[in-house]
């Protein structure tokens, strides 16, 4: 029966089908999806000490993923908190940054350099930072990156994609000295026709440790009344760098921005402090009060601006003309 031509054809088709099926499985690309928490870890340490912090990594895809753990130092790229990695290859990190020798990622108290996560698996890890007595008093800024590893070798012309996700670590070693920072810019335009009023605030950190200034801007009108208080967002300013500081409301507006309406005054690369008052008239004073750290002196600076609503004035004139014309016509009509 097996020699029957019909069965031969049947087996041929079955074989072809299985071949195609296997072929299609091997060629099928799999999506990659990762999540990490928290996004930032700030460590303030005195030598000697051993600091620890928890972090969670999750594979959100439906296939297993092999992750390699890398530590990469970074520096600020722009003045908005974006970063760029330093160019050293990863193998030399430990030579360039000796502190990396004392960093470990622990999985159940076991140091790891890679891990395998099953579909939708989540793993709680511990960052362990051992700071020996002889550690330099300095700041160390680096990312802990989990990068998927590709093991397959392509059978055709191809690009293999790896996906990584990072959490940033700001490690400050040494006693907190008096912060050394300068107010590089606090400015706005001299004249406004209407609001919102945008202020530019840039602070440069010349100290050895990262800082997190806090402060506010109080706006007074020409009668000396406090009419607005703008809270400044507490952002990290790394050592030897400057940062443009936005207001809390600016950041929240930016996060809530409607995709269909890109507002010109909400550029994430150009953080601002926005006073969202639409009607402005007269002379205003904006007083900045800034504290570089909890125990540092407070800086204050006042700037002034003037506002006059020309559009509103034109509207008043138009209304006045309209009223006069109507009244004159009524008069003329009554006299008929």
């Amino acid at each position: 029966m097996i020699n029957d031509l019909r069965f031969k054809i049947f087996y041929l088709f079955i074989g072809l089908f299985v071949y195609l099926l296997i072929g299609s499985i091997s060629a099928k690309a799999a999506p990659l999806s990762l999540s990490i928490d928290p996004s930032i870890i700030e460590i303030y340490a005195l030598a000697p000490s051993t600091a620890t912090s928890n972090l969670t990594i999750q594979n959100k895809s439906d296939s297993e993923v092999n992750l390699r753990i890398e530590l990469r130092p970074f520096k600020p790229k722009f003045e908005n908190g974006e970063l760029e990695y330093l160019s050293q290859p990863s193998t030399e990190y430990a030579e360039n940054l000796p502190i990396f020798k004392n960093l470990q990622i622990l999985d159940n108290k076991t140091p790891i350099q890679s891990l395998i996560l099953g579909p939708s698996q989540q793993k709680n890890l511990t960052l362990n930072v051992n700071i020996p007595q002889d550690t330099n008093i300095s700041d160390y800024y680096f990312s802990i990156i989990f990068i998927s590893q590709t093991t397959s070798s392509p059978t055709s012309n191809a690009s293999l994609n790896q996906l990584g996700i990072a959490t940033n670590v700001l490690l400050s070693v040494g006693a907190k000295d008096t912060p050394n920072a300068v107010l590089r810019e606090f400015s706005t335009r001299a004249f406004f026709e209407k609001g919102p009023v945008s202020f530019t605030l840039k602070v440069e950190n010349k100290g050895t440790h990262f800082i997190k200034p806090k402060g506010e801007i109080l706006i007074k009108n020409m009668f000396g009344q406090n009419i607005a208080k703008l809270d400044i967002l507490r952002v990290n300013i790394l050592s030897d760098s400057a940062r443009a500081i936005p207001s809390v409301s600016f950041m929240q507006d930016l996060r809530a921005i409607d995709e269909s309406k890109i507002k010109a005054d909400l550029d994430f690369r150009n953080p601002k402090i926005l006073w969202k008052e639409s009607f402005l008239l007269g002379f205003y004073t904006a007083k900045l009060t800034l504290s570089i750290s909890d125990d540092s002196p407070i800086f204050t600076k006042s700037i002034h601006f003037f506002a006059f609503p020309f559009q509103g004035l034109i509207l008043i004139v138009i209304i006045a003309i309209a009223v006069t014309i109507i009244r004159n016509r009524l008069k003329a009509y009554m006299k008929k």
Partner: protein
């Protein structure tokens, strides 16, 4: 009713609102007022006109008082009420109303932005003479119309007080001296038309007044802090994010102006997460495929393949996705170079137009799917650049960056084109994308 009586009808609600203001801060009374207004509108029973005006004035004043007085979104109703008073009651009552309003609203005006508040109060003073004159004109027109339609041509139905006549010197109608022709139906129609025009103009002026003031009404946002000496309006509430956990609990903080999750030990302190802004879910990234197959490459036959990159639950201060290649597309010792685009000027940092089928190499571009986070240099189609090559010491560069609370997605297009001299082989490389939160 006399001028004094009509003035009392207007003054009485103002006085009630002034002395019992605290009662109206709860929204129960205004809600009952709105219900009453609906009842009055729907009820067919005829009521005294003065009683109606008393109720209407009371309702509007309660509504405005209970919703922020000078900051009330219903403030415009007071402008309409001014015109209503001038048209229905003795026009002089509008001045009484304005004085009463100033007395009611002025104390509150001193507490906040004085400039804005004085302008609002001044607008009532500005509008009152307009309402007065239009009211007089309207009532005269109405009276004349009544006289015209009255064939008996006897006494007019209403008289204007002597004091009103003082204001009417310029516009007092002349029909007393010259009675209208009772036969002229056309003229009657014309006058009716004029009357509606006056009403229309009055309405328009009221509307313009409202629009003028409405232009300067700020959006209601944020909170107000006050004590006896000051009131400060801030724009937003602060909140925090951060995760605190133990064996028995896991708490993500989302309130107040406190610190993010903090833990302390001997000689160290650790903070995780950002202050001020809530981050509800962990930062996530998805790549639609771990493999891009170009298939067989043939000279001058451009191949374009795409993958999608999606960011979820963006980091509070924003993020960027940096990308790099480990080396050129390689096959043993042979390689396909990175593209330099049609003008030979593009590289891993600068884009260039790549349209020419005789331009060879490997490059990419980014197109927005959700959001606008692709590098802005890809503003026009056919603009490409090459991936930074870490094998040659280049650093990964940003392909996407932004801030937001919603998902962001982009499509990355890989483009390959080889020359006739390119040797056959299996060319491949590894492209790495790293999603990095801002600090």
């Amino acid at each position: 009713m006399s001028f004094i009586g009509q003035s009392l009808i207007i003054i009485l609600p103002i006085a009630i609102v002034m002395f019992f203001k605290s009662l109206f801060l709860s929204l129960i009374v205004p809600s009952l007022g709105i219900l009453l207004a609906f009842y009055l509108m729907l009820s067919k029973r005829k009521r005294n006109e003065n009683l109606n005006f008393f109720i209407l004035t009371s309702l509007i004043l309660i509504l405005v008082t209970s919703t922020g007085e000078l900051w009330s979104p219903f403030l415009f109703l007071l402008y309409f009420l001014s015109f209503g008073i001038a048209f229905v009651l003795d026009p002089r009552v509008v001045f009484v109303f304005t004085v009463g309003l100033l007395a009611l609203l002025f104390p509150k005006a001193l507490e906040t932005d004085l400039t804005r508040n004085l302008i609002l109060l001044f607008s009532f003073i500005l509008l009152s003479p307009i309402a007065f004159f239009l009211g007089i004109a309207y009532q005269n027109a109405k009276r004349r119309n009544n006289q015209t339609t009255n064939t008996t041509n006897k006494k007019p139905n209403k008289k204007i007080d002597k004091s009103s006549a003082f204001f009417l010197r310029g516009i007092e109608p002349t029909h007393k001296k010259k009675p209208p022709n009772p036969r002229s139906k056309l003229r009657g129609f014309k006058k009716a038309l004029d009357k509606s025009r006056i009403a229309l103009h009055s309405g328009l002026i009221g509307l313009l007044g409202y629009l003028f003031i409405g232009l300067f009404l700020p959006a209601a946002s944020g909170q107000t802090m006050s004590n006896e000496d000051y009131i400060i309006k801030t724009q937003l509430l602060n909140a925090v994010s951060g995760l605190t956990e133990s064996i028995d609990y896991k708490v993500r903080s989302t309130v107040g102006d406190a610190n993010p999750a903090t833990s302390e030990g001997v000689n160290f302190k650790v903070k995780t997460g950002f202050e001020n802004i809530v981050a509800e879910l962990p930062f996530s990234v998805t790549l639609s495929s771990d493999f891009v197959d170009f298939g067989a490459l043939s000279p001058t036959n451009t191949i374009i393949r795409t993958i999608d990159l999606t960011l979820h639950s963006l980091s509070t201060y924003g993020y960027s996705v940096v990308a790099s290649e480990n080396n050129l597309l390689k096959s043993d010792k042979l390689s396909i170079p990175d593209t330099t685009c049609d003008n030979g000027g593009c590289n891993s940092e600068n884009v260039g137009i790549w349209l020419n089928a005789l331009t060879y190499g490997f490059g990419y571009r980014c197109d927005n799917l959700i959001g606008f986070d692709c590098d802005r240099s890809f503003v026009h189609s056919n603009l490409y650049k090459s991936f930074p090559d870490t094998g040659r010491g280049q650093i990964p560069l940003s392909v996407m960056a932004g801030v937001g609370s919603k998902n962001k997605s982009s499509r990355i297009s890989y483009k390959v084109n080889i020359s006739a001299s390119q040797a056959q082989g299996i060319y491949s490389n590894v492209i790495t994308y790293i999603a990095v939160p801002n600090f």
